[in-house]
């Protein structure tokens, strides 16, 4: 969509520092992007290991390898780590790497804050994980930490959990301020808003969502802290408080949060489908408006997570209608992707395979989401494995496939080497098949009546659960292959060209591969 006039060559007099200080003190957006991405990869494996424990416990009915108490700690931390440790930092890492290069900026607007917002993350997760080694064990109240289970009835380590969430929130807010400031102020001359690449667009909107809702989460955990240590009763009915208030506050954060985890993936997938269809993205303008409407709607749908708490019927209906409305902009996006492929000249490199799988499986997750929006039917779906199936379909083959697709897409630009296409495709097919073996049967056990978050289950769910566990083990092991593919491309592989992909468009494909340490010190001009 944009052409570059000045494709200058970069000089290297400000190279990276040597040794560990390069990473500790760095203010370079590419280094910080790399740190974020490796951190999120580490967290993906940690959260994944917890999922493996969960699936091993559920392999057969009866107690298998862990106690019910430890099982609850696993499911809680699996959720927390995947949401706050894997998916969100991965997107921030991609934003750091790619946004300045997409808009022709030399770096992020606030480089020192950028360093800080990354380096407090390992601290936050260090605190969270340290609770496992304390008396009483780690958080065990679900990633949604409903009061009073997370206040009056929580293990004493909950205070560490609260502090960790505060730090994660601070990191996200700083990251978002940085991204917004960069996008608003540092675009290359001529790059108007409606010429901005879609990944940058999705991140601009995501960053506003983050700034709007992270303080709400911080408020919720602070109220918990007050209830636990300072004698208040925000969520304690015995003191005049309201446990449901917690859920309203949490989901006012929580629903925008789930879009925070998917919108940047929309941006990534749009670029990839456009590139490998060798055709301009269909309906760019409607894409931007669709993202904006999804973001706005996300603020008025939160109580669809709470259809069974006993809201007045007017509330149930309001949240049902607003939730259903989200299907419209989401449907527009899916149709736009399909129309981009229509009459294109499509090739199927690994990023494209993951993107096509994203569109297909995200559609399935979207449709089950539409079913869940129907309030009276949700009385039967709520808190069953049907819900688990739904949100894993939008988060694993949704958000995570989006991230993986983005990594394959930009990897040659980062490392300067092409990744191994055969291994990449093997990774895709193994992931695609096992992700469906894992999550598709969850629809069935959920409809048949299996509640979520239980460490043991009735006998009629046994066969499906074994299948689910086998799928999960294969999916988990397959991701080791991903690690191998990345390492291999760092150290070896065919030299990547500047443009890397035949159909690639955008400023990031005008700098050399690997991208020099400093890019666009003189801004390019966009026509």
């Amino acid at each position: 969509m944009s052409a570059v006039i000045d494709s200058h060559s970069d000089d290297h007099h400000h190279g990276p520092a040597k040794g560990i200080t390069r990473w500790l003190y760095t203010t370079n957006h590419k280094d910080i992007g790399t740190l974020y991405l490796w951190f999120s990869f580490l967290m993906l494996f940690l959260g994944g290991a917890m999922a493996m424990v969960i699936r091993a416990e559920l392999f057969e009915p009866g107690s298998q390898i862990v106690s019910p108490e430890f099982y609850n700690q696993m499911l809680t931390n699996h959720g927390l780590i995947m949401v706050f440790g894997a998916v969100m930092p991965a997107f921030v890492g991609l934003a750091n790497w790619i946004i300045p290069m997409q808009i022709g900026a030399p770096d992020m607007a606030l480089p020192r804050m950028n360093n800080l917002s990354f380096w407090i993350l390992p601290v936050a997760f260090g605190i969270l994980i340290s609770t496992f080694f304390m008396e009483g064990g780690g958080p065990n109240f679900g990633w949604t930490f409903y009061a009073p289970l997370s206040t009056t009835y929580a293990p004493p380590t909950v205070t560490f959990f609260i502090f960790a969430v505060h730090i994660m929130g601070a990191s996200s807010i700083m990251g978002s301020i940085n991204i917004i400031t960069t996008i608003l102020n540092m675009r290359a001359p001529g790059m108007t808003f409606m010429k901005m690449p879609l990944f940058t667009w999705t991140w601009l909107i995501t960053a506003y969502l983050l700034i709007a809702v992270m303080p709400v989460l911080a408020g919720a955990v602070t109220m918990m802290l007050m209830d636990i240590h300072f004698g208040t009763s925000f969520f304690n009915a015995a003191g005049g408080g309201d446990p449901v208030l917690f859920q309203h506050i949490f989901w006012f954060f929580g629903h925008p949060e789930v879009y925070i985890m998917i919108l940047p993936a929309f941006g990534i997938v749009s670029h990839i489908i456009e590139t490998f269809s060798r055709k301009p993205i269909f309906g760019y303008t409607s894409m931007v408006y669709a993202i904006a409407s999804i973001a706005l709607l996300s603020f008025i749908v939160w109580a669809h997570h709470m259809f069974t708490v006993g809201m007045p019927i007017a509330g149930e209906l309001f949240f049902m209608y607003t939730t259903m409305l989200i299907a419209i902009p989401t449907g527009v996006k899916v149709f736009n992707w399909l129309s981009t492929m229509f009459k294109g000249s499509i090739s199927f490199e690994t990023p494209m395979l993951f993107s096509i799988a994203f569109v297909a499986l995200f559609t399935i997750g979207g449709l089950s989401g539409l079913m869940l929006a129907i309030a009276p039917a949700d009385f039967q779906y709520h808190d069953t494995y049907f819900v688990v199936a739904h949100f894993h379909y939008v988060l694993v083959p949704g958000a995570i496939f989006g991230i993986i697709a983005g990594v394959y897409y930009w990897l040659p630009k980062w490392t300067g080497n092409m990744y191994d296409e055969v291994l990449g495709k093997t990774h895709f097919w193994m992931s695609f098949i096992s992700v469906n073996i894992t999550f598709f049967p969850m629809h069935f056990v959920g409809l048949a009546g299996m509640p979520r978050r239980i460490p043991d289950y009735a006998l009629q769910f046994a066969d499906f659960n074994m299948v689910i566990s086998i799928g999960a083990f294969i999916f988990g092991l397959t991701q080791l292959l991903f690690l191998f593919v990345i390492l291999k491309s760092i150290f070896a592989g065919k030299q990547a060209t500047t443009k890397v992909w035949e159909g690639a468009k955008g400023l990031e494909w005008t700098v050399a591969s690997p991208a020099p340490y400093h890019t666009f010190e003189t801004p390019p001009e966009v026509k």
Partner: protein
């Protein structure tokens, strides 16, 4: 080998023959046993098929795109990038489909939300980890505990057919009467769910939610707690037994009679052995979840009883804890849950078991003492 065989059996039944799956009921929502549940089932099937049709069309179209527009030598991709009329058309189309789904959903919702008073009103209270049922008209009240024993859960004994879905005392309701449930909780949030009634309502401490049902046929209906409520969340099933109105009345009278009998028992002269034996049973049902079979508890949240100074030497305090519960901890009051006999017996048991007998004062508690405690409070 057995395991490998099972894995293969599971894989074949589930993956290969999925479309031929004999019991469609095993993979789908139950239609349930009353008008509302059937209506919700129909609504579910309607939106399900709409979603399936949309899904098949979209995925089918994708397959067509993937096959028809693969890159070929020398092909020229089209360069169009929008089509306003088409975009407008599908936006309106989505809105129409959504309206078609929203209209029946709204009417079902209104019917589900009818909270007029019932013929029988039952207060349901969620406790960690059991349900309490109080029949407001008849002053009948009892607790419903998981029946499945630890040997089954630990894979020592074979699992019964209703593994984890069986209780010592089910909720009994008459058929063809309007039953209204008033649902609340005593500690954390629970959720009371019976799929066959399409009733799922959160039980929230300090608040009372309502739900209702009217069952046409006799039978036993099983469900579970559906809100994470602590470590034994997976072990608090709901079992409802629907009987004819005549049988229901008989049952209510039996419950009332049993209450009178129970009161008489407090006056009986009890031997230590009798109390110990009853106490052991009470302990297994009510206490092991937290304090464990060996009395060691799970510190720091659930304290040990074996060797505890309080259990060894402070009988009065121990009675008080069982009667009043402990503020801010999982320990609840058992004054309403258990009879005087059961409370005296379980205290006696804890003071005698795990070597506590030898290291403490070894005094037993008789039902009369519990009754006295209650009377003094009045």
């Amino acid at each position: 080998m057995r395991l490998i065989k099972r894995i293969f059996a599971a894989l074949t039944t589930c993956c290969v023959s999925l479309p031929l799956f004999a019991g469609w009921g095993d993979v789908n929502m139950t239609p349930g046993v009353n008008a509302l549940s059937r209506e919700i089932f129909d609504l579910h099937m309607t939106i399900f098929w709409i979603c399936v049709v949309i899904g098949v069309l979209v995925l089918g179209f994708m397959v067509y795109l993937i096959v028809a527009f693969r890159k070929k030598e020398g092909d020229k991709p089209a360069q169009f990038d929008d089509h306003p009329v088409l975009e407008m058309t599908w936006t309106v189309l989505f809105a129409v489909i959504l309206t078609v789904m929203a209209v029946p959903a709204t009417f079902t919702m209104i019917r589900a939300y009818d909270d007029a008073e019932g013929d029988i009103n039952i207060l349901i209270t969620g406790h960690q980890w059991k349900w309490q049922y109080e029949y407001l008209e008849d002053e009948v009240s009892f607790f419903s505990n998981l029946l499945t024993d630890l040997d089954q859960r630990n894979n020592i004994a074979p699992k019964s057919d209703n593994y984890l879905l069986e209780v010592d005392e089910p909720l009994v309701i008459p058929t063809n009467k309007r039953i209204r449930f008033l649902i609340t909780a005593n500690d954390v949030i629970h959720s009371w769910w019976v799929p066959d009634f399409a009733v799922k309502q959160d039980a929230i401490p300090g608040f009372i939610n309502t739900a209702w049902t009217q069952v046409d046929e006799e039978g036993i209906f099983r469900g579970q707690c559906t809100e994470l409520c602590g470590q034994y969340h997976g072990y608090m099933p709901v079992v409802v037994k629907a009987v004819s109105p005549e049988d229901y009345n008989l049952w209510v009278n039996e419950k009332k009679e049993a209450k009178i009998q129970q009161a008489l028992l407090t006056e009986k002269l009890w031997s230590t052995e009798e109390l110990y034996e009853i106490g052991e049973g009470v302990y297994q049902t009510n206490c092991v979840a937290c304090h464990q079979v060996n009395g060691e508890g799970l510190p720091p949240v659930f304290p040990a009883l074996a060797g505890s100074d309080l259990v060894l030497n402070d009988k009065a305090k121990q009675i008080e804890i069982l009667m009043e519960g402990v503020q801010g901890a999982a320990m609840q009051s058992y004054a309403e849950q258990l009879s005087e006999v059961d409370i005296a017996a379980v205290i006696t048991y804890t003071r005698k078991a795990w070597g506590n007998d030898a290291s403490g004062d070894g005094e037993i508690v008789i039902p009369k003492e519990i009754l006295d405690y209650k009377n003094n409070k009045l």
